[in-house]
Every structure is written in structure tokens, then in C-alpha cells.
């Protein structure tokens, strides 16, 4: 369903009614009610426009909302005409995405990439875009290379994308097209000021994953959180819907030159980081597989992993080193995303600051691509301005003073670290073997239903958003999907 709405967004439909219900929702709902969605939303819509039901998409959506348009499934030549109109309009959207990608390339060339690896990734999460902006700019000035705007709790389960600039998120700010635009513009300014292109990140997840991915492409976001199973496992979203939405979103990301960030860290917030280390590896492999299928390149794969081993465990740091090295060696070309301790952070902010220092050290020593900066107040509040500043100071010290330790770091083949890495890899292979041996037509869906991942059972015929899943008819047409597959732009 959200794939169809995303398609309309590509065709240029935006905005919402006075109840903040987006026009794309009205129009898709109307099509669904009158003709069904199994043929795609564009055939009835462009047919209606051709028939003069409305002068343009927006008016059509408005009229549809009040029930005053007639929609039908065109056939024959009319269908062909509707299709080609749709393709033309949707192509415009794709060309905007292409232009934004080109613009990013130009800006990166002009302002430059960060000088160091890992790139420094920081979160802002005030809930108010107008507080987020100065905080993001401040963070960039202090050294952040990537700014992630965390989403409000609950947005993932909204079956629409809110509209406009928002100031009322809880523990995060709504992902809206306008918020994207405002933040990107602010960071463009800051990039210029700093002579370094500052990347912007948000979340393509939840019930509106495809639409948000599309908006990200249109507004030149640079990275998106986008995991193949996160919505299923952690948001109880229907698995089929998730895989469908995910494919479309990743095609958009591939097209837009957006780096995806996957969510393996989440496994470790509920499961134990030592016992379940191999599930991280398995998830990375699955994410890689689906990403390649959707056309993403290696440099776009910000596969995730995290420093979540209980710090009271003997040799906990070296266990982390082993895990981080394993990921590094399995995906040598990917800009791995290394995420900080959260579960074992406490109200002792001094201890937290220290742990974050050693997390940074693992990141530096194992050549991670993206370093999500840890906050000493992790267990207390969403980050304060000063937390970010202190955290960046921590990163700078470690990269600058300690980073070179790589030269002296040579874990012996039969030493603790290499042995641990081999063990985790072995467990991952075992798990994958078990999954492929699941009986049934779709072993992965079966495995998910069986609770293989994160101990959560998620059957394919349950979960949120299930009613938005529609089986395609033989004549299903979606010009966006087609053009993304072809790589064409008109």
C-alpha cells in the first residue's frame, strides 16, 4: 500500500488535508475502495485524469477524498494511455532523485569528504525540528560528519507520513518531507561553512518505509536506516509487507545513492551480546543479500553491529574487538556502522564516558566505516547538547591519540581474539544452514515464524499493516517499480 503511495509521491502528489491526512492516502484509499489495488494505483488514477475527472493529481485526490470522483480500471488502449501518462509523471520524480544524487556528488566534490575514517555519526532527538537544527549544526561544527534525526516514538506504526515542519515528537522528531528539507538546507549551509559535506540520515522503516525512502531521495538525504527484518521483529509489522516495502525502498536508495544502515544492534539490546553474536553476522549476511538484490552497491552497505558485551565480563573489550574484526573481514568493502553501548549504560555518566572511549577505540582499531557516537547519558535522557559535545571530544581524543594502535595490533592466530571470531562465524554458518533446512516454500519466512530471530515468533499472516498487503494481479503496473528495475528515467 505504501509502495503505491510512494509512487504517487514520485508523481508529484504531496500535502495533506486540514486533518493532516496526506492526499496520497486519500487517493490510494479511494482507489482501493473503488477498484482495488491489485492492479496498481496508477492505472485508475491516470485514467481518471485522462478522463478529466480533475485537472491534476492534487485536485483529483481532493475530490476523491470527498467521494466526488469516479474511478475505474482502464482497459486496452485506455489502459496503455494511462500507463504511459503515469510513467511520464513518475519519471519526473525519479529525475528529481537523480538530480539530487548528482547535486550530492557535486557538493561532496566541492566541500570534501571527512578526512578520517570512521565517519562520525551523531544523533539529534529533541522532537522539535527547530531545536534539532541548531543542535545538528553545533554537532557538525564540533566534528560530526553525519547527522541522524531520530524519529518520534510511534511514527513507525502510523500508516501515513505526517506533513510539514513538526515540533511535537516524543524522544524524536517526525520524519516529514518538510523536516527533511529544512534540515538538509541547514546542513548545506553548515557544509559550506565547514568545508566538509555533512551527511543527513533518517529512518526508512515502519509502515511507510517506501514513502519515506522516496522522500529521502527527493530531499537528498544521504543515509537511511533500513533493515530487512527490523520492522518484523521489533515492530511486529507483517513480514510480507516488510519484505515488499523493503525491496522498493532499497531500489530507491540504490537509485538515490543513499547508504543504508542496518539494525543488527537491536538484537543485542534484548539478547545477550556474547550468546547472540552470531545472529548479528547472520543478519548482516541477509541484509547484504537483499541489498544486492535491490541493486545497492557495496559502498552503500552500512551493515550494523554494536558494542554491547557486558563490560563486567573478563576480556569484554577483546570480545568486542573479535566481533568487530569479524564483521570487518567479512565485508571488506562495506562502510560498516559501529554502534555504541546502550544496554549496559547506567546513570553513572562517568563510567559511561569511559565505556564510550573504549567503544571508540574498537571502532578506530578495526577500521569501521561509520561510528555512531555514544552518549554518557544513554541510560538517562535523549542526548543533551553538552552530551554530544563531550562525546565528540571523546571521539577526537581516541582517534587522534590512540587510533594509530592499529599498527601495533596483531592478534595471534590462536590467540583469544581470532579464536573467538572463528567461533562466532561457525555459529552463524550453523544457523544459516538450519534456516535453509526449514521445511516449506519460503524458508526464511518459516524461520521468522518459528522465532529463530530474537526469540520472537512472527508468522507471515499476522502483524501490523497486514491489511495493506495486496496480492498483485497479473496486470499489476507500477511505473516506479518498472523504471527502478530498468534504471530508466522516463
Amino acid at each position: 500500500m505504501s509502495v503505491e503511495r510512494a509512487t504517487l509521491r514520485l508523481a508529484g502528489l504531496s500535502g495533506a488535508d486540514h486533518d493532516r491526512v496526506p492526499w496520497v492516502n486519500h487517493l490510494v484509499d479511494a482507489v482501493r475502495a473503488e477498484v482495488g489495488l491489485e492492479h496498481g494505483v496508477t492505472p485508475p488514477v491516470y485514467d481518471a485524469l485522462r478522463r478529466g475527472e480533475a485537472p491534476d493529481l492534487l485536485t483529483l485526490a481532493q475530490r476523491a477524498a470527498s467521494g466526488s470522483v469516479h474511478l475505474r480500471l482502464p482497459e486496452g488502449r485506455e489502459a496503455a494511455a494511462a500507463r504511459s501518462a503515469a510513467r511520464r509523471e513518475v519519471g519526473r520524480g525519479l529525475r528529481i532523485i537523480d538530480k539530487q544524487r548528482a547535486r550530492r556528488d557535486r557538493l561532496v566534490k566541492r566541500h570534501g569528504d571527512p578526512v578520517q575514517r570512521p565517519w562520525i555519526y551523531l544523533i539529534v532527538a529533541t522532537g522539535d525540528i527547530y531545536e534539532d537544527i541548531p543542535q545538528a549544526q553545533a554537532a557538525a561544527r564540533e566534528g560530526a560528519d553525519v547527522i541522524a534525526v531520530i524519529r518520534s516514538t510511534g511514527q513507525s506504526l502510523l500508516d501515513y507520513v505526517p506533513e510539514g515542519a513538526t515540533r511535537e515528537g516524543y524522544a524524536g522528531t517526525y520524519a516529514t518531507q518538510e523536516n527533511f528539507r529544512l534540515m538538509r538546507a541547514a546542513l548545506d549551509e553548515t557544509s559550506k561553512e565547514l568545508g566538509r559535506y555533512i551527511r543527513l540520515t533518517n529512518y526508512a522503516s515502519g509502515l511507510c518505509m517506501p514513502e519515506i525512502a522516496t522522500l529521502a531521495g527527493l530531499e537528498r538525504l544521504d543515509m537511511m536506516l533500513n533493515d530487512s527484518m527490523y520492522g518484523i521483529l521489533f515492530r511486529d509489522i507483517n513480514p510480507v509487507r516488510t519484505f515488499v516495502d523493503q525491496r522498493f525502498s532499497r531500489q530507491i536508495h540504490a537509485r538515490a545513492g543513499i547508504i543504508i544502515n542496518t539494525g543488527e544492534d537491536n538484537y543485542l539490546t534484548t539478547a545477550d551480546a556474547v550468546d547472540s553474536a552470531h545472529t548479528v553476522t547472520v543478519s548482516q549476511l541477509l541484509n547484504e543479500y537483499f541489498a544486492k538484490e535491490a541493486g545497492l552497491q557495496d559502498w552503500q552497505l552500512g551493515l550494523g553491529h554494536a558494542f554491547e558485551v557486558n563490560p563486567d565480563l573478563p576480556d569484554s573489550f577483546r570480545i568486542e574487538l573479535a566481533h568487530a574484526l569479524l564483521a570487518r573481514q567479512l565485508f571488506p568493502e562495506a562502510p560498516l556502522k559501529w554502534m555504541p553501548p546502550t544496554k549496559h549504560m547506567t546513570g553513572d555518566v562517568f563510567r559511561g564516558y569511559l565505556l564510550d572511549g573504549f567503544f571508540n577505540l574498537v571502532g578506530a582499531m578495526t577500521g569501521q566505516g561509520i561510528l555512531l557516537v555514544g552518549m554518557m547519558t544513554e541510560a538517562v535522557v535523549t542526548p543533551f547538547l553538552s552530551d554530544r559535545d563531550l562525546a565528540l571530544q571523546n571521539v577526537r581524543y581516541v582517534l587522534n591519540a590512540v587510533g594509530g594502535l592499529t599498527e601495533d595490533f596483531h592478534p595471534p592466530r590462536d590467540g583469544f581474539i581470532q579464536t573467538r571470531a572463528r567461533q562466532v562465524l561457525g555459529e552463524a554458518v550453523d544457523l544459516l544452514t538450519r534456516i535453509t533446512q526449514e521445511p516449506g516454500a519460503a524458508p526464511l519466512l518459516e524461520a521468522i515464524a518459528d522465532g529463530t530471530f530474537g526469540l520472537m515468533r512472527r508468522p507471515a499472516n499476522a502483524g501490523k499493516g497486514l491489511d495493506g498487503v495486496v496480492e498483485r494481479a497479473a496486470d499489476y503496473d507500477n511505473p516506479a517499480a518498472t523504471m527502478l528495475e530498468e534504471g530508466s528515467d522516463r
Binding site: 541548531p134 553545533a138 524522544a171 515492530r235 511486529d236 559535545d389
Partner: protein
């Protein structure tokens, strides 16, 4: 040193009575001498005297971060500290089961959920799931307790409906996200909805938990009890037995106040029932 602590104490740096305290904060002003003066003013208002601004750092052009050490002039009077001591004995699972069986004569029904948009289930799962917390089994493990765990992001009407359907004795709600007081708003909405939906006096026991509730705020939030950081399942089970059995006893005497210190009949605004 130990033996008997005096009633009046002060913070301790390295000498009894020195009052030493460490403070850090950000002021929304550029870093200059005026900013440092402003930091000193704040420290003075907080009662630090003398106060030393030992660190001041510009964070961009508009903010300055400070670290201050100083002697807090306030005295802490331990006699004024009201400790919500556990108002019930801590029981073993066997004792809980026995008490439920003998006093309720049926299984005790608990309905739990993370409400609102909160998706942090680890805390409530620690209390409810068999797996438990800190080496103690969760409530599911108790033979005489029936647990219905609705999981995350449950809407209040849904929770109320399910509680009614299951004839819940107790409703357990978790709230972890506190930004903009989300936990307080959600809890109050929930308790209001229950009072609306049930006849007076028949509302199930309302229990909320989470790491950042203020102690003693249960009446204000309209709930029976709050559990904080580090709660263990046995505490919760013991509380349930205590509260429900006292309540059923009290119910025999019409008009008697509901049990549980926190459930005093009037909240800070003078009326608990809306």
C-alpha cells in the same frame, strides 16, 4: 564512622561537613566573562557557596558548557526523608501461590502492556515473562497467576477492553520513554480511562513501572503503585497478593479507603475519582 548517623548531614567531599558538590550544565549564551558570571549566579542560586567554575567551554557560538564545584549550604535533614518502605512482606513463589489460592480461590489475573507509543518491553517482560530478572522467575512462572502480556505500543482503549475481557485483577503498565513527560501523560490517560470504564471501587489494581518515575507520585498519577529501577518479579508478586487480599478484606467494609499507602483516597488536587 558508622554506628549512628546524625540527623543532619551535608554532602561530603573529603571532610565531614564540607558540603562539596559537582555540577555541570549548559547556558544558552556565548562563552565570555558574562557567561561565567551567569554560571556563578546559577550556582549561587542553587546554594553553592563558594562556587568555583572550574571548566567553561564554548559549544558553538551560542552555548557554553560549565563544570562547577562548590559547597552546598543546604542541610539535609534525615528526619524529613519519607521512605516508602515496602508496605508488604516479601514472599516466595510458593507463598504467593498459596496466598492466592487460599484467599482469592481462583487464579489471579494480570494484564500487562507498554502503552502509548512506548516500545520498551524489556522492563515489563522482565517482570512478567518466565525468564524473569536478576535470577528471579517472572510472574508467568507462578502457578496461581495468569499473565496476559499485550506487548508494546498498546492503545489505552485496547488495554481497557482486554482488562475487562480477561476480568483482570491487576493491570501492569510499563513506561520507559520520559521525554516531554510522555510517561506521566500516558499513565494519567490510562488511569482516567479505567476509572471511566469501571464502576467506582471496582477498578483493577493499577500498577505502573519504569526507571524514571518519581517516588511517591502514584496518587498524582491516579495509580495504586509505582515500581522503579531494579524492581524484581517477587516484589511485584508479593505486592499483588498484599494489595488484592487487603482490598478484598476492605471491600467487605463499604466506604473504607483502598489499600496501599499510595492509594490514599485523595490526590494532590483533593479528588482521586474524577
Amino acid at each position: 564512622m558508622s554506628a549512628s548517623t546524625p540527623d543532619i548531614i551535608r554532602p561530603y567531599g573529603d571532610t565531614t561537613g564540607d558540603g562539596m558538590v559537582q555540577v555541570s550544565f549548559t547556558l544558552p549564551v556565548p562563552h565570555d566573562k558574562r557567561a561565567e558570571g551567569a554560571a556563578r549566579q546559577l550556582a549561587a542560586k542553587m546554594g553553592l557557596e563558594p562556587a568555583l567554575v572550574v571548566h567553561a567551554k564554548a559549544m558553538g557560538p551560542d552555548f557554553t558548557f560549565f563544570v562547577v564545584y562548590g559547597s552546598a549550604k543546604h542541610l539535609v535533614d534525615l528526619r524529613d526523608v519519607t521512605v516508602v518502605e515496602r508496605e508488604f512482606p516479601l514472599l516466595s513463589p510458593a507463598e504467593v501461590n498459596k496466598a492466592v489460592k487460599s484467599r482469592l480461590r481462583r487464579k489471579l489475573v494480570v494484564v500487562g502492556a507498554c502503552i502509548g507509543t512506548d516500545a520498551h518491553t524489556v522492563g515489563i517482560d522482565a517482570i512478567l515473562n518466565v525468564k524473569g530478572f536478576a535470577g528471579e522467575k517472572g510472574l508467568e512462572y507462578y502457578r496461581e497467576i495468569r499473565v496476559v502480556n499485550l506487548g508494546a505500543q498498546v492503545l489505552v482503549p485496547e488495554l481497557v477492553a482486554r482488562a475487562r475481557a480477561e476480568r483482570a485483577d491487576a493491570v501492569m503498565v510499563s513506561q520507559v520513554v520520559t521525554q516531554r513527560d510522555a510517561h506521566l501523560h500516558n499513565t494519567m490517560t490510562m488511569s482516567a480511562a479505567f476509572r471511566e470504564a469501571y464502576p467506582a471501587g471496582q477498578v483493577p489494581l493499577l500498577v505502573v513501572g519504569g526507571p524514571r518515575f518519581e517516588e511517591g507520585s502514584a496518587p498524582k498519577l491516579g495509580v495504586d503503585r509505582i515500581f522503579g529501577r531494579g524492581t524484581t518479579p517477587a516484589e511485584v508478586a508479593s505486592y499483588l497478593v498484599h494489595a488484592l487480599t487487603t482490598r478484598s478484606a476492605a471491600a467487605a467494609v463499604p466506604g473504607s479507603p483502598r489499600p496501599g499507602g499510595a492509594a490514599a483516597p485523595s490526590g494532590p488536587d483533593g479528588r482521586k475519582q474524577r
